[in-house]
Point group: C2
Chain length 332, copies 2
Amino acid sequence: MINNVITLANRPFGKPQLSNFKFITEPMPQAGKNEVLLQTLYVSVDPYLRGRMNDAKSYIPPFQLHQPIQSGIIAEVIESNHPGFTKGDFVSGGLEWKEYQTSNGTSLSKVDSKAAPLSAYLGALGMTGLTAYLGLTEIGQPKVGETIVVSGAAGAVGSIVGQIGKILGCRVVGIAGTDEKVELLKSRFGFDEAINYKTTKNMKNAISEACPDGVDIYFDNVGGDISDAVMANLNRFARVPVCGAISLYNTTEAQTGPRLQPILVTRSVLMRGFIVSEFAGKALEAVSQLTNWRNEGKLSYSETIVDGFNNIPAAFLDLFEGKNEGKMVVKI
Amino acid sequence: MINNVITLANRPFGKPQLSNFKFITEPMPQAGKNEVLLQTLYVSVDPYLRGRMNDAKSYIPPFQLHQPIQSGIIAEVIESNHPGFTKGDFVSGGLEWKEYQTSNGTSLSKVDSKAAPLSAYLGALGMTGLTAYLGLTEIGQPKVGETIVVSGAAGAVGSIVGQIGKILGCRVVGIAGTDEKVELLKSRFGFDEAINYKTTKNMKNAISEACPDGVDIYFDNVGGDISDAVMANLNRFARVPVCGAISLYNTTEAQTGPRLQPILVTRSVLMRGFIVSEFAGKALEAVSQLTNWRNEGKLSYSETIVDGFNNIPAAFLDLFEGKNEGKMVVKI
């Protein structure tokens, strides 16, 4: 029996391509002493992985050429020589793009398949939900009655940020790229307003109209022109959690835009980039809160589930075309 | 007897000119009931006043056309009908560009001419010192052994930021625009390194060489290209108090520069614009600390003192040419 593996064949220049990935095979791995053998069930594909494909200084080391790609994965323990795990356990962890792999258990968390669908532990109850919750609450510091604007609002993180904003008593305005997403934000996720940036000529004015009291929190998933338009509408003491910059990830030259310092100075604005792992100490509390909201029916989430190990790279590439609605997950 | 007054004649487009100001006269004011009559002794001119000359949304309302300009002023009480003030008291406050004016006492603080030279209450022991101290400590959160870069380092705020950084145990690197200023930063103010941005070709590399452990805090007084070069050298979890953007104040079109979001996201960087008044609750403690350091000989400051009421506008304009060394003050 052989094992299928996806490695980094070469580093992308600009937009990633299928040719950046290589499918290889290896002998079926065996669980050693104090190890488990895992079968991959769900693979998370996320925009931030694009950064790891570059050979650049970042918060996590770059992927190595000809080595397996890694991301968040839900797996089943199919063999255990580890005292902490039993055959049949489901686990979540940062694992490799392999159908089967071994682990010494470090960084694996058990997940409860009865409490929620397994894929939710990669999304609303996993890294995605934590990113939304901790970025919004720790950096955004929302107060009742404030106005939050979310870009990439129909994405995995954005749709959860908006719902948490509503739960916390804020006015929430989303920005997305299709009329269907705009409709979904309002009808399903409870956003007060939503704007299609692809069909709106003057985003600055559109945001101003949707936010009659100005913008107190801008949860930024995209960077670029959309962010410029939101920044121009910030209130004094506004907070800007900078979660991602998907519009800039595939650019091959440094992108320029309006300088932000004058807005920051004249309005005492805070901008703060973050990665969810820096708030690790608050993760348990956050997952518990997210789970409660989900069980109370207050937190909805959508998933785009792609089938098949061979489709992982294509699913990843589709993120940059906005083809996902909510969390993009590959079911093996 | 007549009183001389300087008003805003018209709003500048781009760099301010002498013609934006108008000298007028008015009858000598009289102290009414519960009022004091003040004689202006020292007038502070500051880059932030440029913003108030625009008719634009900011943290303080714009100056009104044909009305007196206001700034920080040290005055002597020459007549008092107010129970809280006595003839001969020296006071500091946000006052009008007039040789004489009345006040009901609101927002006036008494200053002690024996504890320090009066002009110091506009600078190191006044708004300038508070801006440096509170911006650096509240937003910058310096820790022993960290590296601080200060732009506009030979300016009023910058030279104090650098000295506080040294007192707090940090490595401090300054950026200034002449070799004389660079020398002064190292010899008088104790900066570890200083860089002349006008004669340095590759600022990004120069900063990298001056900061072998990267940059943990960037105290930004200038914005523009200099800031781009510093931002490229930020460490993970770096903090950027954005105090001013003098390089951008006189621009007539929105200036563009490299987008900052990728740096903020990949390095979990905090940028925060501020105005010293938002930390008003900590002002007393800060002045006390600054005064102690000054009395212990740990805090030096330089002043550029211009003589004469008629030279106030010219002194203000000279700020944008970098003609000041340290705090620019006009002695009446």
